[in-house]
């Protein structure tokens, strides 16, 4: 073997270890993968169809039901003025008092059940998603800031394993599209990094607001796998891991996507 060939072999082997699989460094919001008109639609509060859901969430937030003592707004301020946007950007959080990993939907549902004394909503329920959309919208522009150390570290490892696990008849994992092949075209669609900073998001295809866990369910259906239930441990772990990949990205809720 000539010296030149050894050089090539050496370069190849080094490339395997040195070059990261990601093109460009750092997280990129799905916003960057949109065409300009869709970006403009998201940016305009009147054009953005997701704002309807923010308003629906606001209604629920201020609603005093018959024979009830409290509204969300009684504790958290009119229009959620007392909600801390920095705290919203930290979800999912680890709270031992609430059984460990708590997504924002779960946190809202605890409040709904314990403080408002209502029947808890089903995970993925439209009202719960509307409330989540309203609350997250309060933190628009705040960088995602999910904790990754302490008790979160082993949970993130579990989430990462799920992220890298092949599922379904197609035998694909999240990683394949959103890490290995991000930026490539799947027929007419550009594969994004699969970041979650815009969720719940308005989908132009279905005309619906969609929570992150519902969106992951759609991916499972498309690779012909049995989806996990919204609110399941698996989806909570994926929500945590996917969210932490996007630490530093500004919250865009409600984002507009295809």
């Amino acid at each position: 073997m000539s010296r030149r060939r050894y050089g090539l072999l050496f370069a190849l082997i080094m490339a395997m270890f040195v070059s990261p699989p990601i093109v460009g460094a750092g997280p990129v919001s799905g916003y960057a993968f949109l065409d300009e008109s869709t970006q403009a639609m998201q940016d305009d509060e009147f054009e953005n169809p997701g704002m309807m859901t923010v308003e629906r969430g606001a209604e629920l937030f201020h609603e005093l039901r018959e024979a009830e003592e409290y509204r969300c707004a009684d504790c958290h301020g009119e229009d959620g003025a007392k909600l801390d946007p920095e705290a919203i950007a930290r979800y999912p959080v680890f709270d031992p008092n609430l059984g460990g990993l708590v997504t924002l939907q779960k946190r809202l549902n605890y409040c709904w059940e314990i403080h408002l004394d209502r029947f808890p909503l089903m995970p993925g329920d439209r009202e719960l998603t509307a409330l989540e959309t309203f609350v997250r919208h309060r933190a628009r522009g705040v960088p995602v800031n999910i904790r990754t150390d302490g008790e979160m570290a082993p949970l993130l490892t579990e989430g990462e394993v799920l992220y890298n696990t092949r599922f379904g008849q197609l035998g694909m994992s999240c990683r394949h599209c959103h890490l290995q092949h991000q930026g490539q075209m799947l027929r007419g669609q550009r594969l994004s990094q699969g970041q979650s900073n815009g969720f719940p998001e308005y989908r132009l295809g279905s005309g619906r607001i969609t929570s992150l866990q519902q969106r992951i369910g759609e991916c499972f259906v498309s690779f012909r796998a049995e989806p996990f239930e919204p609110g399941s441990r698996e989806l909570d772990l994926l929500e945590l891991y996917v969210g932490s990949r996007g630490n530093g990205l500004p919250i865009e809720t409600p984002a507009v996507r295809f």
Partner: protein
């Protein structure tokens, strides 16, 4: 109680007797033909079938067929969107033999374990959390794989 456990035991023995014969020669079960890869190729056509390049070309573009275009560029100019996830397949017949192409369609992950490409005719018992409607089935049937091989090997 005893009756039920006896029934289970008989069934278990039945399964044990059936299973080894299922891994023997083609075709078995729901028509899945076992195949063997040697030297990164499957030399024998699946189930001994003959492929048709015209049908293969149609399958490559069909979203409910092979849907090769989702990820690969192909010389099919009437379709406007060709994916870029996988390598372009123009001239693939000049680079690979029929047997090498067959293995890459059947189970690309035997060539590259990190590949995103689904195995279109891999052992259907290997799936993880496959939806009920697709459980135990291959993505394409043997004839479809052979049609695609016949089409692709002629792209020179």
């Amino acid at each position: 109680m005893l009756g039920r456990s006896l029934k289970r035991a008989v069934m278990a023995i039945g399964v044990m007797v059936v299973l080894p014969s299922a891994s023997a020669g083609p075709p078995v079960g729901d028509g899945f033909c076992t195949w063997e890869a040697t030297g990164f190729a499957i030399e024998q056509p699946l189930c001994g079938l003959q492929g048709d390049p015209e049908r293969g070309r149609a399958l490559a573009a069909d979203q409910n067929g092979g849907n090769c275009l989702a990820c690969h560029r192909l010389p099919i100019p009437e379709e406007s969107f060709h994916g870029t996830v996988g390598p372009p397949l123009d001239g693939v017949g000049a680079r690979y033999t029929a047997g090498q192409i067959r293995l890459r369609i059947v189970d690309e992950q035997q060539v590259n374990p990190f590949s995103i490409m689904p195995g279109f005719y891999r052992d259907p018992m290997l799936g993880n959390r496959v939806a009920d409607d697709y459980w135990g089935k291959t993505m394409l049937d043997a004839q479809q794989v052979e049609d695609l091989v016949a089409y692709l090997v002629n792209l020179k």
